[in-house]
């Protein structure tokens, strides 16, 4: 798949409905023991107050796998700062991808908004809005446009996996 212009759009919006409580979804986003179970599997560490730090640490398994595939996995894969934290409804943060090559790190911080809203019937609506102004390389990666190169499926894949984990107790195979 070639990188199409969608990947360079400034704002990307993702929405998924999950049969879980807002609190469970909040924990799955903000607690390392949850974030290592789905998506790319890094351990997210949040200091949940405005100006607080955010980082995603690589697990030992990821470092080992990176070495096997011939690329270095940095100890901190993503970093940023908390802008607003309103558990379990809304989290605004900055977000910078530090993976090698440095083409995404050089683009600097992007802005990520998580909105969690209970809807009638016991499900919860999770909306992820990623403002990628001036960050086309990061945008291509998080859109999943480079999945065929082994870069993973981006937010769609992460959220699909999160839904699977919270609804069935298991992430998607693979």
């Amino acid at each position: 798949m070639t990188t199409t212009s969608d990947a360079t759009a400034t704002v990307q919006v993702y929405r998924v409905y999950i049969k879980a409580t807002p609190e469970a979804i909040w924990d799955a986003i903000t607690k390392p023991e949850w974030t290592e179970k789905y998506g790319y599997g890094g351990r997210a560490e949040y200091d949940l107050r405005p100006g607080g730090g955010y980082r995603v640490a690589a697990t030992e398994a990821m470092v080992a796998q990176g070495a096997e595939m011939g690329f270095g996995v940095p100890e901190v894969m993503v970093d940023g700062e908390v802008v607003e934290s309103e558990p379990p409804r809304r989290l605004v943060q900055t977000w910078r991808l530090l993976m090698m090559p440095p083409e995404t790190a050089e683009e600097g911080f992007t802005r990520l908004t998580w909105e969690i809203e209970a809807i009638p019937g016991g499900a919860t609506k999770l909306t992820v809005t990623h403002d990628l102004m001036g960050a086309p390389n990061t945008a291509a990666l998080v859109s999943g446009a480079r999945e065929s190169e082994g870069a993973g499926g981006g937010w769609s894949w992460i959220l699909s996996d999160l839904k699977s984990l919270l609804e069935t107790g298991k992430p998607l195979a693979g």
């Binding site: 990307q12 919006v13 998924v16 769609s156 998607l172």
Partner: protein, 108 residues
């Protein structure tokens, strides 16, 4: 109707698929821009109706930006169907066929 059912129904219509393709090419468009992109003669009301079906299926998410209402493609429902149906049964065959189709069409 189930979540999957709404997605399949939304995808069953060529105008709605075209609207998704327009958003895939460039995301975050207004109704007016989408209307201009739908080349067949269609009223604004017709385009709105199709966008509503896409929104109900979760394939389009709207956001306000100042006075404008922008439409965004939400790829997650398609990913869920992919993970639920395509991956499970047929991914290898489907991608082989998709490759073959792309190759054949390139040579036309």
């Amino acid at each position: 109707m189930t979540e999957d059912g709404r997605v399949f129904k939304a995808l069953a219509d060529p105008t709605r698929r075209l609207l998704l393709d327009l958003l895939f090419a460039r995301d975050g468009r207004t109704l007016g821009e989408l209307e201009a992109g739908v080349e067949v003669a269609m009223t604004r009301f017709g385009v709105m109706k199709h966008l509503r079906v896409l929104e109900e299926a979760g394939l389009v998410v709207t956001r306000r930006s100042g006075r404008e209402k922008l439409h965004f493609l939400n790829p997650v429902p398609i990913r869920l169907i992919h993970d639920r149906w395509i991956d499970k049964y047929t991914e290898r065959q489907v991608s082989a066929l998709a490759d073959l189709k792309a190759e054949l069409e390139e040579n036309v």
